[in-house]
């Protein structure tokens, strides 16, 4: 899962990714979505078995988790749908609570000759989009990168000139595809690059990309992530939003516009700056105090935003203490302090706070907290903070 300090996260389902790919001329298996067992059975009889039924959740690992099943008849499909729809599917990426299944993607199976891997991401060294291809499909690309790096080809795309024919020839050769596929590969890569750039994606992944028995290149599975920061120019992507797939506190954080990741510990961490937030978590962990969350309130936070962030932390019932570590730059300590006080008062919380503030308007902030009558321990350095926390968790 990915989070943004701007609170504008859109994740999309496989069927939506495939729909978008199809609009760019990328071939996808014949199929459609179903929301209940009856529709599923109807769809299968319409498509003609054998079919594959895929649970639509915002997490990977569905195959092993039981979310992808073959259906050789409408009846079998109905049974699968009855088991899946409404259930919480648990995979290695969902966490213990699982993710609720509302929709199934039902597709006609494809007669596969070969499975390959294709993705497009942003590359730091070439400062633009990068295509990643591998003749080994269906596997986790990170696993391939770790064990068979020679099986991965990286093809940088120049934003001015676009994907080039020579790159298509190189990819074909690398994938050990017959030269007759050079044109098809060119068209596919041009489509993937167009989709990536025009929609401000952060990831377009086709895994596996398969060659079927009719020699067509088909996106058998599809994953698209977007650059949260560019969503302002793709407002129609909001239609893709599926609130049911997001952890409740993280959903609230998204709305409040703060970067929040829920973790399993008891120390609520309120920090500004991602680096300092991570360092603060490292510090807590170092003295045996496990963080309950990552939370970066960002630079230009308002009182309301801080208050919302604190309330989200406080509604995590595991939290027994709030650790505040702020180094004011753009964020001013007085605004931070007011936000904290507002949240504690609104909720009526009495949890203890350990606060270390520094930087812009630190005196005003300290005064506000001091006068608030909340249970605050002040630290003036990180080592003092470490000491206080260490004492509490000793």
């Amino acid at each position: 899962m990915r989070f943004s300090a701007r609170g504008n996260v859109i994740k999309i389902h496989e069927y939506q990714a495939k729909e978008l790919m199809s609009r760019y001329g990328i071939q996808i298996p014949e199929g459609d979505t179903a929301s209940d067992p009856e529709q599923t059975a109807l769809l299968i009889s319409h498509l003609g078995p054998p079919t594959i039924v895929k649970a639509q959740i915002h997490a990977g690992g569905r195959g092993i988790g039981g979310g992808i099943k073959f259906a050789n008849s409408p009846e079998e499909g109905r049974g699968i749908a009855e088991g899946l729809i409404g259930s919480h599917l648990i995979t290695n990426q969902t966490g213990a609570q699982g993710a609720i299944v509302h929709k199934l993607l039902v597709e006609k199976t494809v007669a596969i000759k070969r499975e390959m891997y294709l993705a497009c991401v942003i590359d730091r060294s070439s400062q633009g989009p990068l295509l990643i291809v591998s003749p080994t499909g269906g596997m986790d690309i990170e696993k391939i990168a770790a064990t068979q790096p020679e099986k991965i080809l990286r093809v940088p795309i120049d934003l001015g000139a676009g994907f080039q024919p020579y790159q298509s020839r190189n990819i074909c050769r690398f994938l050990n595809l017959d030269p007759k596929f050079i044109r098809a590969i060119f068209d596919l890569m041009t489509s993937v690059c167009g989709l990536f750039i025009e929609n401000d994606c952060s990831l377009v992944e086709i895994n596996p990309l398969v060659l079927d028995e009719r020699d067509c290149l088909i996106a058998l599975d599809a994953k698209i992530d977007f650059d949260d920061d560019a969503l302002f120019r793709h407002m129609r992507l909001s239609n893709f939003r599926d609130a049911s797939q997001q952890e409740e506190l993280e959903r609230q954080a998204t709305e409040a516009g703060v970067a929040y990741v829920k973790l399993d510990g008891t120390v609520g961490c309120l920090v500004n700056g991602a680096g300092l937030a991570m360092a603060t978590m490292d510090l807590a962990h170092g003295v045996g105090a496990e963080p309950a969350n990552f939370l970066d309130v960002g630079g230009s936070a308002t009182i309301e935003k801080i208050a919302a962030a604190v309330k989200i932390m406080l509604s995590d019932t595991n939290v027994t203490i709030i650790l505040v570590n702020i180094f004011g730059g753009i964020l001013r300590c007085d605004i931070l302090a007011e936000g904290i006080v507002k949240a504690f008062r609104d909720i009526g919380s009495t949890l203890p706070l350990v606060v270390r503030m520094s930087g812009t308007n630190v005196e005003a902030g300290t005064r506000i907290l001091f006068e608030s009558k909340l249970d605050v321990s002040f630290a003036s350095t990180l080592r003092e903070l470490e000491g206080i926390l260490s004492a509490k968790y000793a």
Binding site: I197, G273, A274, G275, M278, A279, D282, G299, G329
Partner: protein, 291 residues
């Protein structure tokens, strides 16, 4: 001496009439920076902080004031436009504070910049400060800095303030502190800064503050091993971050094996870098290296 900025810096602030822009332009001015101009379209002719003239465009500002460095405070959706305008007007060093610049905007901007021969710091960075030159070009709190001989370079803003505070508290001054920014695509990286620190006669020791995600620290390790003759201390944030989750910074997501804190620390250690074990021990580690 210092790197990137000094007492010849003639600073322009883009987005100077905004809340953040105005506040920080004044802070820079107060610190001693030669803030010569501001730009906000539609606000040409205004005066900020009693003395900084505001222009309609960067071209006008450069023509009238000879500005050579620009600090950008415009909102992220307009950052590409502001950066390209600065490059086009001949600004040599552009420092983009904005957080949340679309990554393709950064890519297009970097492509244009590399063609034109300018330098970008950021986006999503706190800027640069050279205490001995009384030159602050960024949003860092100036008062925590002390002139000295430690060069600081960091991906994280607030964590670099933390580092500087610890150094200053131990009476260890800084030559220049550079925040390179937390985005996955940035204009100036660790290697660029290490190269300059290594050449800078005033810098005697380098503190590098990295974090999980990407492989910039590994690149830095390779560079240090081969070229850097000065002692380097490093802290890497995110040792306890879970895999596959994005920790705020767009650049801070661990993918596969090449983004973990452990791997980065090990690469740096191999290059002879002193690893700082805890974020509270940055200052003391450097002190021990000096003593």
């Amino acid at each position: 001496m210092s790197i990137f900025v000094n007492n010849k810096t003639r600073l322009l602030v883009q987005g100077i009439t905004g809340r953040e822009g105005g506040f920080h332009a004044e802070q820079c001015l107060t610190y001693g920076t030669n803030v010569v101009a501001g730009v906000t379209p539609g606000k040409g002719g205004h005066i900020v902080a009693g003395k900084i003239p505001v222009f309609e465009s960067v071209h006008q500002a450069v023509n009238e004031t000879g500005a050579n460095v620009s600090l950008i405070f415009v909102p992220a959706p307009f950052a590409q436009d502001a950066m390209l305008e600065a490059v086009d007007a001949g600004i040599e060093l552009i420092i983009c504070i904005a957080e949340g610049v679309p990554i393709l905007d950064s890519a297009k901007t970097l492509n244009f910049i590399s063609k034109q021969g300018a330098r970008l710091l950021g986006p999503n960075c706190p800027g640069i400060i050279s205490p001995a030159e009384r030159c602050k070009v960024g949003i860092m709190p100036g008062y925590i800095h002390l002139p000295g001989t430690v060069g600081v370079v960091s991906r994280s803003g607030t964590l670099s303030y933390e580092a500087v505070s610890q150094l200053t508290a131990l009476d260890i001054g800084q030559s220049t502190c550079v925040g390179i920014g937390g985005d996955p695509l940035i204009g100036t990286d660790f290697v660029d800064v290490l190269k300059l620190f290594n050449q800078d006669p005033e810098t005697e020791l380098i503190v590098l503050i990295g974090e999980i995600g990407g492989n910039m620290e590994q690149d830095a390790a390779r560079y240090i091993k081969e070229y850097v003759t000065k002692p380097v201390a490093a802290f890497i944030a995110g040792a306890t971050a879970p895999t596959g989750k994005r920790m705020g910074h767009a650049g801070a997501i661990i993918t596969g094996s090449d983004g973990t804190a452990a791997e980065k620390k090990s690469a740096l250690e191999t290059a002879g870098v002193v690893i700082i074990p805890s974020p509270g021990e940055i200052g003391i580690t450097v002190k021990n290296m000096i003593d």
